[in-house]
Subunit: 138 residues, 2 copies
Amino acid sequence: MKNSKKRSDCPISSSLDIWGDKWSLIIVRDLMFAKQCTYGDLLKSEEKIATNILASRLQSLEENGIISKSDHPDSKAKFLYKLTQKGIDLLPLMVEINLWADKYYELPAKRKEELKEVKKDKEQYIKTALSNLKQVIS
Amino acid sequence: MKNSKKRSDCPISSSLDIWGDKWSLIIVRDLMFAKQCTYGDLLKSEEKIATNILASRLQSLEENGIISKSDHPDSKAKFLYKLTQKGIDLLPLMVEINLWADKYYELPAKRKEELKEVKKDKEQYIKTALSNLKQVIS
DNA sequence: ATAAAACACTTGCAAATCGCAAGTAATATT
DNA sequence: AATATTACTTGCGATTTGCAAGTGTTTTAT
């Protein structure tokens, strides 16, 4: 995931150049759920990302303006990673991934329940979720 | 992209296990635009996928039920690749990728024009596009 | 009928990336 | 002052990528 140059002007291709790998959207997901995470928080996620890969993805996501890194208010040893507006705007995309997976795969009951709400009124759900996320932006 | 086992039950993670790489959604994109492609058609796409990578991705997409391979009606030397219903159902996701990229990157004028239509009435656009794609399913 | 071209891949191989384990430097806790 | 946390970095073998060339079948041209 190093200095990946643009393969073409196509929006799909340009997007994949940035987050088209197995880990970037996992990090985005964690930040959408938790609003803000430390490096250690992200390491703990279920999929067990390797520490060097996490570091490289965080750098790439920051370079591409999807996340921001800021000082932790309580400790100089920690940093906070948050989504930027550009990262928050990936929410509709994340919702669609969820809905697609819900249609074709077995999901945990808890997740399925949450998606019921989404399906009830997608527009409204996204609107609410977006404004919730926006409040955390530094 | 070989026999990738599931990292977790999360819908994002499950989805990325299947198409979370730099090439799979490029192939899906081409099939959405062209409705059906031969191997050679896909090789010609702007991003210049390597032939061995194309072969491996086609196999993986077929194994995962996103695309289907069928005989070409005009020639025994050719095969047709098409989206399955599961592949077609990635359309809303592809639309959101386009809209996100449209917001944050410079797109070709032609593509921007097409997206104007989408933004005018997203629901309707998707509905129409889905039924257009559905007609091609073998 | 035969040779050349087209088509869909496969193979070989060097280079890049991944992922595990261990290490480092700064800060925090005891 | 010693130990633990935190956020990474480094080393290294294994896997994946991407380029180039090759293979086998079918189609087209002569």
